[in-house]
């Protein structure tokens, strides 16, 4: 029978080119989740090196400027990245920043608490809230988009209402004064590397002010936190068993459950981690600038998600990289500050951001297709 013969031949044929094809280095690079973001970083640096080279953007204080902005966002993005790889969102982190800031400032300024105690209180409260959000998501099976959107409003409303209740104000300042002799506060509001910069200026490697003090007095602690957090998250994701569970939870929850991965626990812990990141951001902000405001962190949840998506993490979960999220945050910071330095109207920033997001999502889709292609 000619019909059966031909069908057998068809199934035999694709077998022999199955594994012979060699991949070039470029092809391998293309399959990395963070490749697009790495290329994007090089691209924006190239653009602003041309546009803003003589504006001081790449002088010591300019570099510190965009590094700090990027690091702030990166702290949030690292948390959002792990959670997104596990297949969930947390839209409440922006409100959490405002909330945690107030939890630090109000007890310290109005109730006479030592600053370290109110910092601990902020972390404990946020971790509990993160666990509550995670538990709600896992228990109800509702999309985390809706659950965390609810908490976006609940937390923001609560922050404003409570700060008016306790202080009659929505902006509380004066934290710097009470934090002066605190042992914990410098860990968030301080600077590091000051001696190094003084040494640099003494050897004429760094510009100085008229009084001889170096142009850059030190690097804000948030930069150090960002690097520590990135190293920690990368290690967890790629080199610990939990990373395997995070990928599996987002990649195929049912399969993960079937082989015994505690997916609910994974998700709840990651919601707590994003809350931790938001509180870390808030602590650094409150202790560096000395004030807390009820409207701090508005839209930060979306900026974090944008940075993560630009970094190559799939919105649907199961694939992504912390390094990518860092690159996404760096692109964000460099463009934001770069536009200022190059004198371009900063309204264009959002236009750029939206376009970048769209391009990144399209690119990620392409990568996903490539990695799941039958070779």
């Amino acid at each position: 029978m000619p019909i059966t013969n031909s069908s057998v031949n068809n199934t035999v044929q694709p077998l022999y080119d199955e594994r012979i094809r060699a991949q070039s280095v470029l092809q391998k690079l293309l399959l990395r989740p963070d490749f697009g973001a790495l290329a994007g970083v090089i691209l924006v640096f190239a653009i602003f090196a041309m546009l803003a080279n003589d504006s001081g953007m790449f002088a010591a204080d300019g570099i510190l400027n965009w590094t700090t902005v990027s690091a702030q966002l990166a702290v949030l993005a690292i948390g959002a990245c792990l959670l997104m790889i596990a297949g969930e969102f947390d839209l409440s982190i922006g409100s959490m920043i405002g909330f945690a800031g107030m939890v630090i400032a109000i007890p310290a300024l109005y109730w006479g608490w030592p600053v370290w105690a109110s910092i601990f209180l902020a972390f404990i409260t946020s971790l509990a809230l993160g666990a509550l959000i995670g538990y709600t998501v896992v228990r109800t099976g509702l999309p985390s988009f809706i659950v965390s959107l609810a908490f976006l409003f609940i937390l923001r409303g609560l922050t404003i209402a409570l700060s008016i209740l306790f202080t009659n104000k929505t902006i509380v300042s004066g934290v710097s004064e009470v934090a002066q002799d605190d042992w914990l506060a410098p860990l968030f509001g301080g600077e590091f590397g000051s001696d190094f910069f003084i040494w640099l200026s003494k050897h004429d490697l760094l510009a100085t002010y008229a009084d001889g003090s170096p142009l850059v007095s030190g690097i804000p602690m948030i930069v150090l936190w960002c690097l520590l957090l990135a190293a920690f998250a990368t290690w967890i994701l790629l080199y610990s068993p939990y990373g395997n569970w995070i990928f599996a939870t987002g990649g195929d929850e049912k399969a993960a459950k079937n082989v015994g991965v505690p997916t609910a626990k994974v998700k709840i812990l990651l919601f707590m981690f994003t809350a931790f990141c938001a509180t870390l951001y808030a602590s650094c902000q409150v202790l560096e600038y000395g004030s807390a405001a009820a409207d701090r962190g508005v839209l930060k949840e979306f900026e974090a998600i944008i940075a993560v998506v630009i970094g190559g993490t799939l919105l649907t979960g199961g694939y992504g990289s912390v390094l990518g999220a860092l690159c996404g945050a760096l692109i964000f910071g460099v463009v934001q500050i770069g536009l200022f330095f190059s004198g371009i109207n900063s309204d264009w920033f959002r236009v750029f951001l939206g376009s970048m997001l769209l391009a990144a999502v399209l690119f990620n889709n392409f990568i996903r297709q490539r990695i799941s292609q039958h070779s």
């Binding site: 594994r19 290690w235 395997n244 079937n258 015994g260 990695i371």
Partner: protein
């Protein structure tokens, strides 16, 4: 004679008023492929789930290594060496072969909180586990999504074997596969058999299972039509028992008409050419 590794004695399972399984007697021998045949609704799924610890029998006994055992959870079944490879395979497509192989049972190096997932060794073991089953993989870090259906099935089987399965329950392992891919899976099953594992091969298609099976048990509407050694029964006899003689005769007649029509149209096509 070797003793059966699993024995079902007069096992029944009811769901409310529905009789899913009634008086099942089966013996599963190590080093043999036992083919469970049955049409849709014959009770195959209930039987697998009973063996896998998902359902408990309503009456009758389940003997494992000669011991009457009540399986309380899938985990307990797994600990006793009964591994079930379901149709969805429990593989995560966007993760690498190695990461899937060790998912939920990651091997670690180092101490306490600093213990890390030993990917290097894991890569090695996954490659070897697959190679032992006759599956050559170029790169264990490539994603599972790039594997063919047959390779995925083999990966799931190799994983179960590596983690100490003594009894392998395969739920329709060749259902969605082409001829060549099925052959690959059958080869893996034959290898597993050679290594002394008991394999329970569930299918509704005798042609897929016949080449590797040693025993056949036919399920129909929750009851067994008996178990047969391959030597004592031909493919056609099994088929006939499965569908019932008269139905098969009708089917044959229909098929004959089809082939007549096919031949007729082919002749016409050739005439036109």
């Amino acid at each position: 004679m070797t003793k059966p590794i699993i024995e079902l004695q007069n096992l029944s399972r009811y769901f409310g008023s529905v009789v899913a399984l009634q008086g099942i007697n089966i013996q599963i021998m190590p080093g043999q492929v036992h083919c469970l045949l049955g049409d849709n609704g014959a009770g195959k799924s209930t039987l697998i789930k009973t063996l896998a610890g998902v359902h408990r029998p309503s009456s009758g006994h389940l003997l494992i290594d000669g011991q009457a055992t009540v399986l309380r959870s899938p985990k307990q079944a797994l600990d006793l060496g009964i591994a079930t490879v379901y149709q969805d395979l429990a593989l995560v497509p966007l993760m690498s072969i190695t990461r899937n192989f060790f998912l939920g049972r990651e091997i670690t190096k180092g101490w306490g909180p600093f213990a890390y997932f030993d990917l290097k060794t894991a890569d090695h073991i996954a490659l070897k586990g697959l190679a032992d089953m006759g599956i050559q993989v170029r790169d264990p870090s490539q994603t599972v999504a790039t594997l063919s259906g047959g390779e995925k099935q083999c990966l799931a089987i190799a994983r179960a074997i590596y983690f100490g399965a003594k009894v392998l329950i395969l739920d329709e392992p060749t259902a969605a596969l082409g001829v060549k891919q099925s052959a690959k899976v059958l080869k893996v099953i034959a290898t597993a058999k050679q290594r002394g594992l008991a394999v329970i091969f569930i299918t509704h298609n005798i042609h897929h299972a016949y080449p590797v099976a040693d025993q056949f048990t036919l399920l129909k509407r929750g009851r067994t039509l008996g178990s047969f050694a391959k030597s004592s029964v031909s493919r056609e006899q099994v088929l006939e028992m499965m569908s019932g003689g008269s139905e098969l005769a009708e089917l044959e007649q229909e098929l004959a008409e089809f082939s007549y029509n096919d031949a007729h149209t082919t002749q016409q096509d050739q005439a036109q050419l």
